[in-house]
């Protein structure tokens, strides 16, 4: 009798705990959305003023959309801000595959927002292959989906099984995957959504990637973006030592 009573009490508290937290999350989201409405967005930013003080910036920044639906205008902002911060590669990972399906929409929004001298190199287009000789800012963009993750490792393994290759070392495997992935390993990953999870992101490439979590990429502000880069700049890597 006593134990049953105790179980009921625990369940009541459990229920209350999650209810209170849900209410808290709703209020927090509302407050944030009101705050964001007061900030103005700039698609074209002054590079030196905002990014001059950062010690280091990533060469490749990757954005994991998580469970969120892609918002082309915000993703376009991220592309342009990365270009301003001299980040050479940006990739988007959408495990559901909807971004890959609607990539053209993203192309259009970016073309509208960017300056004439900016060059955005889309790696999903077979003829988006890079040419040299650009002046002005440039950035490489790639949209990843679940097949690029573990599927990539499977494909490489199958390929190696078909060759007469007997030496499979970490280095040779890495070289093979690098050829497939095209981009260098991401140094910084931004995970969107309340659930902090990889959702099947390519496992090999994230060995020493720094992971930061944002509530949502929808209406993400420029200040928030700079803040993420500042956090990254402070990370100290020891590489096992």
């Amino acid at each position: 009798m006593n134990t049953n009573f105790a179980i009921v009490i625990y369940r009541v508290f459990y229920f209350l705990l999650h209810c209170v937290f849900t209410k808290f999350e709703t209020l927090q989201a509302f407050y944030k959305s009101q705050k964001n409405k007061l900030c103005h967005e700039f698609a074209l930013v002054n590079d030196k003023k905002h990014f001059g003080k950062l010690g280091k910036t990533p060469t490749h920044l990757t954005v994991l959309l998580g469970g969120e639906e892609p918002s082309p205008k915000d993703l376009a902002n991220l592309i342009l801000w990365c270009m301003a911060a001299h980040i050479t590669f940006i990739s988007f990972y959408d495990y559901k595959g909807s971004l890959k399906k609607h990539e053209n929409e993203l192309h259009l929004v970016v073309e509208k927002k960017k300056a004439a001298t900016d060059h955005v190199i889309w790696h999903s287009h077979p003829d988006g292959a890079w040419k040299n000789g650009y002046s002005g800012r440039k950035i490489h963009v790639k949209v990843l989906s679940e097949n690029d993750g573990k599927g990539g490792v499977v494909d490489l393994t199958k390929k190696l099984a078909r060759t007469s290759e007997t030496d499979i070392s970490i280095e040779s495997f890495d070289a093979g995957l690098r050829e497939q992935f095209e981009f260098p390993d991401p140094e910084l990953a931004v995970c969107c959504g309340k659930t902090f999870c990889l959702y099947g992101y390519p496992p090999w490439q994230i060995r020493v990637t720094e992971f930061l979590n944002v509530d949502s990429h929808h209406n993400i502000t420029f200040n928030h973006f700079v803040n993420l880069l500042q956090i990254y700049a402070k990370c100290e890597q020891r590489f096992g030592k």
Binding site: A6, Y10, R11, F13, Y14, L17, H18, F21, G67, Y95, G149, K150, G151, V153, V154, L156, T157, K158, L160, A161, R162, E165, I168, S169, I170, F173, D174, C191, K194, T195, F196, C197, L198, Y199, G200, Y201, P203, W204, I206, R207, V208, T209, E210, F211, L212, N213, C235, Q237, F239, G240, K241
Partner: protein, 282 residues
């Protein structure tokens, strides 16, 4: 006065543990136990003392996990990259491992509680004495099935994945399996962690926000918890917060649940042969 507070705190702890247990609890949690050296520096101790405290914290954490109903725990004890550290520090860590493994062999509680210990990693990189001890502990506990502790020692995820690929390529070349049998499940079954489930939650302490080559393949669907505290300062409340966060989003994670496909006979025979080989090696 002090002990009343302690007693009061214990009651509150017990209460909160029971409340959290009303909801879903992760079956498998992975820990990157980071921060021992910074703890030692912060408290002006020897580095080795930091590692000893870290080990004590591990034992404590395992007890909390069992209490909460977390039946499998994987910990990152020593990375292949850590061999780059000073000879003195590597020596200390190897000695610590040797001592603790010897203690485990004579520890009756492990057998009584049904704890199975698996050691994952490239054990050939260790000294022969340590390899023997690891094998003894693994063999002694191999029939236990109430709780599972996986210790990653001389481990990196890339080494594990490349090793699995090597095994599979050899299998295809020798005709045991066909190229079309190669898929994600097969790779998963050739990793060091093949006998366990993937972690539901991965925790890293000390405020770092990266995985440092740990279980990269296995954490595709795991809830990520990065915690600020240093590992020797990790407490039950930190663990409860991780479980609470898991409860908030486990429904979303389950939506992506991996279905293990049925293996065909060829694959099964291949995997069985690998398992036999591994046991023989031990």
């Amino acid at each position: 006065m002090f002990w009343i507070l302690q007693w009061g705190l214990q009651i509150i702890e017990k209460f909160c543990i029971n409340v959290i247990k009303c909801g879903p609890v992760p079956k498998h949690v992975a820990f990157i136990m980071d921060g021992n050296r910074r703890f030692a520096v912060k408290n002006k101790m020897q580095l080795s003392e930091g590692h000893f405290r870290g080990f004590d914290k591990l034992v404590e954490t395992l007890q909390w996990c069992l209490e909460l109903g977390i039946t499998e725990v994987t910990v990152y004890a020593f990375s292949i990259e850590n061999f780059k550290r000073s000879e003195e520090e590597v020596g200390t860590l190897m000695r610590l491992a040797t001592e603790q493994l010897q203690k485990l062999l004579s520890n009756e509680v492990i057998m009584a509680e049904g704890v199975r210990i698996r050691i994952i990693g490239n054990l050939l990189l260790l000294s022969e004495e340590l390899q023997k001890l690891c094998a003894q502990v693994v063999l002694k506990t191999k029939d236990n099935d109430k709780a599972f502790v996986n210790v990653a020692f001389a481990y990196t995820s890339r080494d594990e994945i490349a090793n699995a690929a090597r095994i599979i390529v050899e299998g295809v070349k020798s005709g045991e399996i066909k190229n079309e049998d190669v898929d994600e499940d097969l790779i998963g079954n050739c990793l060091y962690t093949k006998n366990g489930a993937d972690p539901d939650v991965i925790v890293r302490t000390s405020g770092e926000v990266r995985f440092s080559d740990f279980l990269l393949w296995q954490i595709s669907n795991s809830q990520i918890c990065f915690i600020q505290v240093l590992w020797p300062e990790f407490c039950i409340w930190d663990l409860l917060v991780c479980v609470f966060r898991y409860q908030r989003c486990c429904n979303e994670l389950k939506k992506r649940g991996n279905k293990r496909k049925n293996k065909n006979e060829r694959i099964q025979t291949f995997l069985d042969r690998l398992e036999q080989q591994r046991l023989k090696q031990l």
